[in-house]
């Protein structure tokens, strides 16, 4: 290589290297997704073949698996439930975690550190030892077998997480801004609502997204508290109604996962930059 590379060539090479590095990651991450997608459109008899290439259709693609989903299960209701549950959980989380995070981060409360750590530690308690006592709580509230039960229970893991997140975030807001607002006649609360919150919007959004995703990762609580077919969220409804005895409805299972997972992934991507800002909260200053 005699001639020095031009900037363009350099850039091209750099891109090439980066892409080469990224390919394995993309393959690892995406292949199972691709596999789910193609399985969702396959005839069942196309699945049980060893002689032909599994990566593509050997029989014409079918929508049968989706028909099963929408006409023979309550899939439509599950989607609505999942979204409504997540929205409520996000709301409850915001109403509790945002003020708590602010108080812990900004108000120099006596014992703040210990309270913060204690709230945080509750995230450490595994769900498997909480679900039986919680089922009594749910029954006492009269919420058993309704998705409202999950609205009550899911904040047990979203609140600790998001409190921490918000705490970190509020620390990045310069104290001076708040003081200036207070000088301008806003009270403590006014300063919080008018100045600090707007600046912390990325953090708030991050919390919302997190509340959403965490709610969708649960299986055990949903299983234990919600049995009626039309009250389940997707992650519970799908494995409980598409695995029957010793028969798996593979195509429908995978279709169901994708129809819910992909929109959330897209949403996630939208907010990823803010999210990154959010978790870095209290750093770098």
């Amino acid at each position: 290589m005699a001639a020095p590379l031009t900037a363009r060539q350099k850039d091209f090479r750099r891109h090439l290297l980066i892409y080469a590095g990224l390919i394995p990651f993309v393959v690892i991450a995406v292949f199972p997704i691709y596999w789910m997608a193609i399985t969702a459109f396959k005839h069942e008899s196309d699945l049980y073949r060893m002689d032909s290439i599994p990566f593509w259709f050997n029989l014409p693609p079918t929508l049968k698996n989706f028909e099963i989903l929408f006409y023979q299960t309550n899939y439509g209701a599950w989607i609505v439930n999942t979204m409504t549950i997540s929205a409520w959980v996000a709301l409850i989380t915001l109403l509790t975690a945002v003020p708590a995070g602010y108080a812990l981060a900004r108000l120099r409360l006596p014992g703040a550190e210990n309270i913060g750590i204690s709230i945080f530690m509750t995230y450490l308690v595994p769900g498997i030892i909480l679900f039986l006592p919680l089922s009594r709580v749910v029954a006492t509230l009269g919420l058993q077998d309704s998705w409202w039960a999950l609205v009550v229970v899911y904040p047990t893991f979203t609140v600790p997480f998001c409190t921490w997140l918000m705490m970190g975030f509020f620390k990045t807001v310069p104290m001076e801004m708040e003081e200036a607002a207070r000088v301008d006649g806003c009270g403590q609360f006014g300063a919080l609502v008018r100045v600090v919150l707007p600046v912390s919007l990325p953090g708030v959004l991050t919390s919302v997204i997190f509340a959403f995703t965490l709610s969708m990762q649960d299986f055990l609580y949903g299983l234990a508290f919600v049995a009626p077919g039309d009250q389940k969220p997707v992650p519970v409804g799908v494995p409980t109604e598409l695995i029957r005895g010793d028969v798996f409805f593979w195509g429908s299972l995978m279709g169901a996962a994708l129809l819910v997972g992909l929109p959330v992934a897209i949403l996630y991507n939208f907010f990823l930059d803010r999210f990154i800002q959010g978790i870095t909260g209290g750093l770098g200053k």
Binding site: M50, Q72, A139, L223, R244, D246, V247
Partner: protein
């Protein structure tokens, strides 16, 4: 799904088939008598997702129709059988939930009986009406002489074998475990091994017990209190399983779950499997040529000619906290009156517990030449705990997969005596703990 007219016809046929002339009239009258006091109540039923979706659809409709007729609001919820214990524990802890709860495979009567309604009356009257229960039924639901559940149906795991492959190799039907082993040994080199789950799943618990019991062994005695696993028969069964694995299977059986052997048969690879007829049905739908050549065989006999077929039991119970116990009892009686309609709807999957319903030809299985053999199973059917009841220590043994683990260890090449030592240790520890408690 079926329309009401066929339902009635089927029901009529089934009742007529039962051959209890007086009984049938009674049945029909019963079905119409709506006890006034249950009007206006609600009934919530929790049961598994049946492997035949049409059965669930039929059942939901069946329950609703009964409710409409009797002024009862009925709701049926379905969850997979594996998740039933968790759900039951949650409902117990909550003291609220469904009125009727279904137990599949793992029958938890002895664990929960203090929280269940004593329904000896329903058990007794249904039994009397239909010529009695088969002997294996009672231990499922009985604690200290009272019955806390109504056995609804059980699921057989017969031999399913490829007649075409057997014939081509000049093999005899797998009527004994020894013949089954010879077949696997012969056909494996031809690309058609056999497979039984050496893993932690429900089928493994059932299949290996069928083998052990047919070999004359047992886990506990008839009282349920004394461990009998340390026996010559158990050692023989282990040795046999090891040989069967070495000669006739591939290592994939270590990873199998309940559904793997279905696929193994449906793909045309397996020469025989020991599984529920859902495997037969799956094959019918996905691989018709293989289905055509698949034959159902009687439970293979052990070395002394003994046949014990361990089946997956299904039982309904009523929670004590239920406020609609009378309604629940009425419904269970009504359901039992339509036992054979359920069998029809499940495509022959649900086997009855009532003697009168074994009158040949039975619905579905009696008319399909390949399935007729299933009518001979009631004499040899057994459940967990055989020959005794399904006690709480056996429940733990089952749920921790101790027995399949022993067979797995043997197949992996552990010395038989080491396997026995490990297994006996587990059994003793579990039994001792339950005695202490």
């Amino acid at each position: 799904m079926m329309d009401p007219s066929t339902l009635n016809r089927r029901k009529f046929l089934s009742v007529a088939g039962a051959g209890v002339a007086g009984g049938s009239l009674l049945t029909m009258l019963d079905a119409r008598q709506a006890p006034a006091q249950i009007r206006g109540t609600t009934l919530r039923i929790l049961q598994w997702s049946h492997f035949i979706p049409a059965y669930d659809a039929w059942f939901d409709k069946f329950a609703k129709e009964w409710g409409d007729k009797n002024g009862v609001k009925v709701r049926v919820d379905h969850i997979p059988h594996l998740e039933l214990p968790a759900r039951m524990a949650a409902e117990f802890a909550a003291g609220a939930g469904h009125d009727i709860i279904h137990n599949g495979s793992s029958i938890l009567t002895r664990l929960y009986y203090k929280s269940l309604v004593d329904i000896s009356d329903v058990f007794g009257s249904v039994g009397r009406k239909y010529g009695g229960w088969i002997p294996a039924a009672k231990p499922l639901v009985e604690v200290e002489g009272r019955q806390y559940g109504v056995p609804m149906f059980y699921i057989l795991l017969p031999m399913l074998y490829r007649k075409d492959l057997f014939d081509a190799a000049g093999l005899k039907a797998p009527d004994t475990w020894e013949l089954a082993r010879v077949a696997a040994r012969t056909l494996k080199p031809k690309g058609h091994p056999t497979g039984i789950q050496f893993s932690q799943c429900a089928d493994a618990n059932l299949n290996w017990r069928s083998l052990l019991f047919s070999f004359g062994g047992a886990e506990a005695d008839a009282s349920g209190d004394n461990i009998l696993i340390d026996s010559k028969e158990m050692r023989e069964a282990l040795r046999f399983a090891k040989a069967l694995f070495d000669e006739g299977m591939t290592a994939e059986v270590f990873s199998w779950d309940d559904a793997s052997d279905n696929r193994f048969l449906a793909s045309g690879i397996g020469c025989w499997i020991h599984d529920a007829i859902s495997a037969y049905r799956t094959t019918e739908d996905t691989n018709p040529p293989v289905f055509k050549n698949t034959v159902i065989g009687l439970e293979p006999a052990g070395p002394a000619g003994k046949r014990v077929s361990v089946a997956a039991a299904n039982v309904y119970m009523i929670w004590k906290f239920s406020k609609n116990q009378q309604t629940a009892k009425e419904f269970l009686t009504h359901f039992m009156d339509n036992d054979l309609a359920g069998m029809t709807q499940s495509r022959g999957y649900n086997m009855p517990y009532l003697e009168a319903n074994y009158k040949k030809p039975m619905p579905v299985i009696g008319t399909d030449p390949k399935m007729q053999i299933l009518q001979d199973f009631p004499k040899i059917v057994a459940f967990y705990g055989y020959p005794g009841p399904f006690t709480t220590p056996i429940q733990e043994v089952v749920n921790l997969y101790v027995l399949p683990d022993m067979f797995t260890r043997a197949a992996r090449g552990h010395a038989i005596e080491d396997v026995m030592k490990w297994g006996m240790g587990e059994y003793r520890r579990i039994y001792a703990k339950h005695k202490r408690a």
